[in-house]
């Protein structure tokens, strides 16, 4: 069964802290994505990766960076957390038997920055 896991369901951090959100998929997918979800704005793409050590900016990359050292793991980094980064963060992956387009999502990490 397809599985995408995220390291934390809930996270509370202080302004200025460096924050790491981890995502792991067990489907040998090539492509991985980080989104943030906010009411009324839908899912907005932060960064995505087509392969190990490859990354591309999405629609809202400012204030974020990513790391993909292994195929199964994609990390989102908030270099200096700010209150406007309080949000739900969703990781997804795609590739393999499901075709090139279906994205499989993790359960999300709700991040609060105080």
């Amino acid at each position: 069964d397809v599985k995408v896991t995220q390291s934390s369901r809930y996270l509370v951090k202080r302004t200025g802290e460096k924050v790491f959100l981890e995502c792991v998929q067990d489907m040998d997918h090539e492509n991985m994505f980080w989104y943030r979800q906010d009411p009324g704005l839908g899912l907005r793409l932060i960064y995505f990766s087509y392969d190990v050590k490859m990354k591309e900016k999405g629609d809202i990359p400012e204030g974020y960076s990513v790391s993909r050292e292994k195929k199964e793991r994609f990390s989102l980094i908030l270099e200096s957390a700010s209150t406007n980064q309080t949000s739900m963060y969703l990781c997804a992956s795609t590739g393999g038997a499901g075709g090139p387009y279906e994205q499989y999502f993790g359960p999300g990490t709700r991040l609060t920055v105080t």
Binding site: V4, F33, G42, L43, F48, E102, Q103
Partner: protein, 113 residues
């Protein structure tokens, strides 16, 4: 720039009724239009998808209607049930983009018993 616009933002339907959610897109290069369903506390999951070479696709109580000339597509949920209460997202993608999706703003559906 929002390339996929979704409406309404919220929808309340009585049990047994028809739920209709609409989406409009701008980019004529889009060639894949999925709908995702998200329950509280869960990540979105693919519900149904359509390609622009057909005008309608039906899976059980869920139907996508697609109007290429109008650049619009919609999700119809027939005989809506309380278990259908969730947030629904339309999306669009272009072949060769590695599965990158552009999502709509989401619709929170509540089906009343």
């Amino acid at each position: 720039q929002q390339q996929v616009k979704q409406s309404p933002q919220s929808l309340i339907v009585q049990k047994g009724g028809i739920s209709i959610i609409n989406c409009a897109y701008e980019n004529t290069a889009f060639d894949y239009f999925p709908w995702y369903q998200q329950f509280p506390g869960k990540g979105p999951a693919l519900l149904i998808a359509i390609r622009p070479d057909v005008s309608e696709k039906k899976e059980g109580r869920f139907t996508i209607s697609f109007n290429k000339s109008a650049k619009q597509f919609s999700l119809h949920i027939m005989d809506s049930q309380p278990g259908d209460s969730a947030t629904y997202f339309c999306a669009a993608s272009t072949m060769g983009q590695g599965g990158k999706l552009i999502f709509g703003q989401g619709t929170e559906l509540s089906v009343k018993p």
